[in-house]
């Protein structure tokens, strides 16, 4: 069971590598987005592993916050203000 979380952690480390050496800001934004989604998967798997139901609530919240953060980054890349 824990090998699943280890594999997803390796994926998160690869995203961190892309954030570190990304040539442009867009690459770093993509890395942040995908790392958030991988953390959603880790949280859901640990909810099954420990049999705690509230970790799935945390997973839903992480999904929505990742969406809002990515939209903010896209707005920043388009050189617009956030309330446009």
């Amino acid at each position: 069971m824990s090998i699943m979380i280890v594999i997803l952690g390796i994926g998160g480390f690869l995203c961190l590598l892309r954030i570190y050496q990304g040539p442009s800001i867009s690459d770093r934004a993509v890395g942040v987005d995908i790392m958030g989604i991988l953390f959603v998967g880790i949280t859901a798997l640990s909810a099954v592993f420990y049999d705690l139901s509230f970790l799935m609530d945390l997973s839903i919240t992480l999904t929505l916050f990742s969406f809002i953060g990515t939209l903010a980054l896209a707005k920043y890349l388009q050189k617009r203000s956030l309330d446009d």
């Binding site: 594999i7 997803l8 892309r18 867009s26 690459d27 993509v30 995908i34 099954v48 799935m56 839903i60």
Partner: protein, 118 residues
């Protein structure tokens, strides 16, 4: 009876997740990277959620997993599309082996696709 199917779907999702992360590192361009790593959402993490729903059934955890999968399917392609369009407007350079750029051709011909662009 339905438990091995759930585990198999969870393993397929984890495989797509790690493949998407490898694609994020290996591909040469931000557009290729985004195209590879969006698979890691709609097949990877959504697969994990469907597998958890098959494992737990109609318990609170299963219903929450299904709701989280629905949110993933709704929000993540929208976020990827916004990020792609933001990269185009920001002027991120394409890979030198790119053969076609219709959006750039339209912008060069004076036909702006997006009207409200400031």
């Amino acid at each position: 009876m339905i438990s091995p199917i759930g585990w198999i779907i969870i393993w397929i999702g984890i495989g797509f997740d790690i493949l998407g992360a490898i694609g994020l590192v290996r591909f040469p361009d931000v557009y290729n990277r985004l195209q590879a790593s969006t698979k890691c959402v709609t097949l990877g993490t959504f697969g994990i959620m469907v597998g958890i729903f098959l494992l737990k059934g109609f318990s609170p955890m299963g219903i929450k997993a299904l709701i989280c999968g629905a949110f993933l399917l709704l929000t993540s392609p929208v976020a990827a599309h916004a990020l792609m369009k933001g990269s185009l407007h920001f002027g991120t350079k394409m890979w030198k082996g790119t053969v076609m750029d219709k959006y750039g051709e339209d912008k060069l011909n004076g036909k702006q696709i997006e009207k409200g662009d400031k």
